[in-house]
């Protein structure tokens, strides 16, 4: 028990130190812009299909599940606004972050851990490249930039899924559906959602990079670090979401 608590604080401290190093080194040249763009493409491209399909299904399921209750109260006209707010404020960013934690976070940690085991990180260092800049800063920055983009994409696809069900079940046209959605959505819904997605992206990638960079125990460690990266970053997504809701409540009185 004591050992577990000690380990928790040690890992928390090390991740914080790793994050501080990111901010220290990210601002100083040289900048690995080409690698950053490559990582943006990889992270976006790798996740767009999964994020899109999951978002679409979430939109459909949410509409199908809530429709009977709203119909019972004669409030089915509230469906677009209710679904729109739920998706944009919460479901879109959180589902996107969880998918990215599983796909991008585990991918980053496994890749870096395997590079460490096979001495590729050392090879980079001896060729005069700062591996932290080349591998960590590019990946963390790319994930921080790409996650909000993916979250907005997931929101739109999810709303499209919901709109199709509304059309099929209630005869609501797509135009009317989206008019209703945007009538009720405010910047108070959208901005906190985008801002928290930046933090989700940062947390997922920094944990993935930290686990990969500090991996040990050879090839056995590669699988373990990927697994740990997913668990820690998923937990962090929920903690950050909780904090984000508390803070946005102060600013926007949700």
């Amino acid at each position: 028990m004591f050992k577990g608590i000690k380990r928790f604080f040690t890992v928390t401290g090390e991740i914080s130190e790793f994050s501080l190093r990111y901010f220290r080194e990210a601002l100083l040249p040289p900048y690995e812009f080409q690698e950053f763009l490559r990582q943006c493409f990889l992270i976006g491209n790798k996740s767009v299909g999964l994020v899109g399909s999951t978002g679409f299904i979430m939109g459909i399921v949410l509409t199908l599940q809530t429709r009977p209750t709203l119909v019972e109260f004669g409030a089915e006209s509230w469906m677009p606004s209710m679904v729109g707010i739920a998706i944009v404020r919460e479901i879109g960013p959180v589902i996107t972050a969880l998918i990215c934690a599983g796909k991008v976070g585990s991918g980053i940690s496994a890749e870096l851990a395997s590079m460490k085991v096979t001495e590729q990180i050392d090879a980079m260092e001896v060729s005069g490249t700062n591996p932290f800049k080349f591998l960590v800063i590019t990946r963390v920055t790319a994930a921080t930039v790409m996650l909000p983009v993916l979250a907005v994409f997931a929101d739109l696809i999810s709303l499209a899924g919901s709109a199709i069900i509304e059309y099929a079940k209630g005869g609501v046209t797509l135009q009317l559906y989206f008019n209703k959605v945007f009538e009720f959505l405010t910047f108070g819904d959208l901005i906190p959602s985008i801002v928290k997605s930046f933090f989700f992206g940062f947390a997922i990638a920094i944990v993935g990079c930290y686990k990969g960079f500090t991996s040990s125990k050879g090839t056995e460690g590669v699988g373990r670090t990927a697994n740990e990266a997913v668990v820690i970053s998923s937990m962090l997504v929920f903690i950050l979401d909780f904090i984000a809701v508390l803070i946005s409540d102060i600013f926007y009185e949700l």
């Binding site: 890749e111 395997s114 590079m115 096979t118 001495e119 590729q120 050392d122 090879a123 980079m124 260092e125 001896v126 060729s127 005069g128 490249t129 700062n130």
Partner: protein, 250 residues
């Protein structure tokens, strides 16, 4: 800043390095002259790899003097160390080719890092092709590392090491993990490139045939110190028990 002798490629005095209670190097002394090829022989876990990782600055030393090309490694900043590393090549035991890059990109990587050094009147394409030709693997230029055999990976890694035309080359177990025939081919290839590039070399190995082919002088590392040194023939004639342990297995 303390500087070493400019006429020495590598100069080490009283080098100490420990990992916790494990004292790996305990006052190691070592000198390599420009153009000289030295093999460091030792049992597994004797600290051979730690030694060359200290030389290239991947591991910080605890105590002692360590000068590479006249610069004191422990006192160098990261930027200064990168400049020293431009003149020091390192062949890793497992080749350490970047998995996500093709052979061409692997060779271009150090050139892109050191653009000033890279040109020398030739384009990057020419430099890459020339380096691959030197190791006889020009046809693999567009392949990925996963498509190469162990021996081919070592050759490509050697080409990547040579591409900046370093003044010192450090080889970490160059024949490790290879069959004896491929190991011998790699050893002769190292000898060939050493003669062509005239770089100083430190070959870390426990493979005596490799040490015989690639080096002018052999240093035996035992209990964290340079136990004995000499040419292959001198050591072969030695009656010392530690030295004979290496020759007995041949």
């Amino acid at each position: 800043m303390q500087a070493g002798r400019d006429d020495m490629a590598i100069e080490i005095k009283g080098l100490h390095k420990s990992f916790g209670s494990n004292h790996v190097l305990r006052g190691f002394d070592f000198q390599v002259q420009p153009g000289e090829n030295v093999a460091v022989l030792g049992k597994s876990g004797s600290g051979k790899s730690v030694l060359i990782k200290c030389i290239i600055g991947l591991i910080q030393i605890d105590k002692g003097e360590l000068n590479v090309l006249g610069r004191s490694v422990p006192e160098l900043t990261r930027k200064e160390m990168d400049l020293v590393r431009r003149d020091v090549g390192f062949l890793f035991q497992g080749a350490a080719l970047y998995d996500s890059m093709s052979v061409r990109e692997n060779l271009e990587f150090p050139l892109r890092r050191h653009r000033d050094q890279a040109s020398r009147g030739r384009s990057m394409q020419q430099r890459v092709e020339e380096a691959l030709e030197n190791v006889g693997l020009l046809h693999t230029i567009n392949l990925m590392p996963s498509e190469l055999s162990g021996g081919m990976k070592k050759r490509i890694a050697l080409a990547r090491t040579l591409i900046l035309e370093p003044k010192i080359i450090l080889y970490d177990e160059p024949t490790g993990g290879l069959d004896p025939i491929t190991g011998r081919e790699i050893s002769y290839l190292i000898k060939e490139v050493q003669e062509r590039y005239k770089a100083a070399a430190v070959v870390i190995t426990h493979d005596l045939p490799c040490a015989k082919i690639t080096s002018d002088r052999i240093v035996i590392l035992s209990q964290g110190k340079n136990y004995i040194e000499g040419t292959y023939d001198e050591l072969e004639r030695s009656s010392d028990a530690v030295v004979q342990e290496f020759f007995k297995i041949l």
